[in-house]
Symmetry: C2
Subunit: 479 residues, 2 copies
Amino acid sequence: MAKDKKLVEEITSMDVDFAQWYTDVVKKAELISYSSIRGCMIFRPLGYALWENIQSELDRRFKETGVENVYLPMFIPESLLNKEKEHVEGFAPEVAWVTHGGGNELQERMCVRPTSETLFCDFYKDVIESHRDLPKVYNQWCSVVRWEKTTRPFLRSMEFLWQEGHTAHATAEEAEERTIQMLNLYADFVEEVLAIPLIKGRKTDKEKFAGAIATYTIEAMMHDGKALQSGTSHNFGDGFAKAFGIQYTSKDNKLEYVHQTSWGVSTRIIGAIIMVHGDDSGLVLPPRIAPTQVVIVPIRQKAEGVLDKANELLTALTEAGISAKVDDSDKSPGWKFAEHEMKGVPVRIEVGPKDIENGVCVAVRRDNREKTEVKLDNVADSVKVILDTMQKDMFERAKKHRDENIYTATEYDEFKEIIDTKPGFVKAMWCGDLECEEKIKEDTTATSRCMPFGENAISDRCICCGKPAKHLVIWGKAY
Amino acid sequence: MAKDKKLVEEITSMDVDFAQWYTDVVKKAELISYSSIRGCMIFRPLGYALWENIQSELDRRFKETGVENVYLPMFIPESLLNKEKEHVEGFAPEVAWVTHGGGNELQERMCVRPTSETLFCDFYKDVIESHRDLPKVYNQWCSVVRWEKTTRPFLRSMEFLWQEGHTAHATAEEAEERTIQMLNLYADFVEEVLAIPLIKGRKTDKEKFAGAIATYTIEAMMHDGKALQSGTSHNFGDGFAKAFGIQYTSKDNKLEYVHQTSWGVSTRIIGAIIMVHGDDSGLVLPPRIAPTQVVIVPIRQKAEGVLDKANELLTALTEAGISAKVDDSDKSPGWKFAEHEMKGVPVRIEVGPKDIENGVCVAVRRDNREKTEVKLDNVADSVKVILDTMQKDMFERAKKHRDENIYTATEYDEFKEIIDTKPGFVKAMWCGDLECEEKIKEDTTATSRCMPFGENAISDRCICCGKPAKHLVIWGKAY
């Protein structure tokens, strides 16, 4: 039976044009539709199901650490946004303003939240009085709006979905601890569930969040060697507390300012799943995040007993907690193979009259096309093993790719040459001055991704100016 | 031990002032905080947890009927909103307009979605081509904005959370079937899980959704006899399809318009939970929707073994799938009783040194204060029975209250007197003319709630004009 290649031929090869490959996959896998609103995307069922799975797994992990969910308004009055100086400078240029409502011009315009620090501060000011009210460890799932000039599905759009956690603590130590705890929670989730290896570290002052004293990040390397910031966790110290007057009475009856954090992961992470794992046949979904883990394709489905057997397998898989479906549409098997490969379904099961006679079916892995003959009466256990192995292999493959594309440089010419000619990250030392960071960006278009945790110095001089070095930095071009 | 009444004394009695009682409960039970944005509410952890439970249960039921979730943009360009005439007339006066973004004035202003029919139509126009693409049964969970002059927590606010389902079908019959299917799904959910008895029926033309050919509703009676519309399901026929050009190629290769529906339930329903079940001690949550079903209050918690036993009970309950927690704060037991009663926790378990000696603890139902002595080694099974019984009793109590407050009238004077003097609903016949419906509203402030399914005529004349009657209508004052 000839495999129907039409669907696959419609997408650009990733080695020919990675950006076009990405756009093609997003569209052909039916993750996203463009809407008639400039910069806004429509999440189609598969795109949204990925986000639902991310939500449910992250939310479970959040709640295990004591996080409670809340929901705050989507509008921020201009005067509230203006309360913390650095924050407003960071966000005011990119907000959408509501100026009219219910037929009248508003006395004070409101922006649609680009992030909700100011709203949480306004709320915490009202509900925190005593040390007994601390800590507050709240989170919300919502959409935010930031005016973007360019648009790329998942990676950059005017409106996107995310969660934003906002916490208030009695002490600076507790705030720092929560900041790092959430960074680690994100990292574990992304590595274990999305099979994406990460580098954890701290952002430079230039790259940190507007209003934070420290921003921590998880950085992932895409297939094309570029970086994607996949989640951030910020320590605000007591800066917002002072701007908004969030004080509590301590155990020894003194008025103290709270210490705050915020942390977020957005639908950008779906872009990382696509760009880390995808191939020229489309999406490849890690089993632990795939909305459909197994698709059963009946071969000669009109032959007696074939559809019945397919549905029996479906029942066996579903009862074992595996998310599966039967594709009994009237398309050809080849067409179905291509379609479910495009949509990244981790395992395909083929079952036809001959297989049934022999008491077997064939399981095909999406990532490496490996075929396994599986006994019909043991399908759930066998498929579980295949899914687990595939999950591990996908992580290891991505890690190998990542590790092979990290370079070190101690001389600026070498540094520039690597950035210019090789996809990937470069480790190099930095003096800590903004000027060098800006010069590197100007010379190479690479930015500082982070100062990674637990790495040793590789030289004592700044890669750019030659002055004494303060930090090891991971540099790379980024989405 | 004297029960601490302070918390309870702070709320107004429901018989003295029901509206004030409602506001007090919402605030004291920490469901909602007012924000500094006029008309916008903050959902605090308990308020949002109720919504999360509603979401997860409804979403599960949706998916069983083939619903897929998507997410569409929050903005609607003015020209798109204007495409369906009745629809824009219904919504344009109450929208919020974004006129500036990214520092510039927009060429075309956009409203924040008050509902998303126009966006779904614009989307369906692009993705529906053939009968193979039908039906589309999509839903989204999101927030919407409608400019309101007055504000009441959950019942009326500028921004609220909801789900909106939007479907497209090949035939009118299929669309009508889906409209009724979703109405029934809502009704089952509200009766089974929220323990609120309902009246299902059709809205009059005056009360139907802007752009629908038929709107169906579930109507609930609050403790004060007023009605709360708790969910609606609309059949649009092919009106939107014609306005937006949503056509498909049928099996016999003809171009046909699709038939559409939409249906929604919002955070208003939390207002119904409060107003149907609450009492003068605060919230009373039906066990099947309560975020915490059981609170364990240790008595003399510093005595040896008491906290250990409380935590043992917690483990036993949790393992049995019951959502429970131990309140080991340093407040007095009486204070804890009042606090958890205010928050509506269905069952309180008291356990102290004497109980432990006797191998028992005491379970107290929130709704009727009934106390049951429960054996410590059988706590989960006993509590399950109590929770189930309480759920049934709450529904029956609400149903009795509802049934006792439905009247029938065949003369207009009698009708007006009932509406004027008795809380509740009145059944009366109607000729079908808008003028009579408007006169009744003017004379009594009561509105037509619905034309209930499966009810027999009680007279052959219109209650208002005396002309031949067409429909039995449920009339009532409404939130």
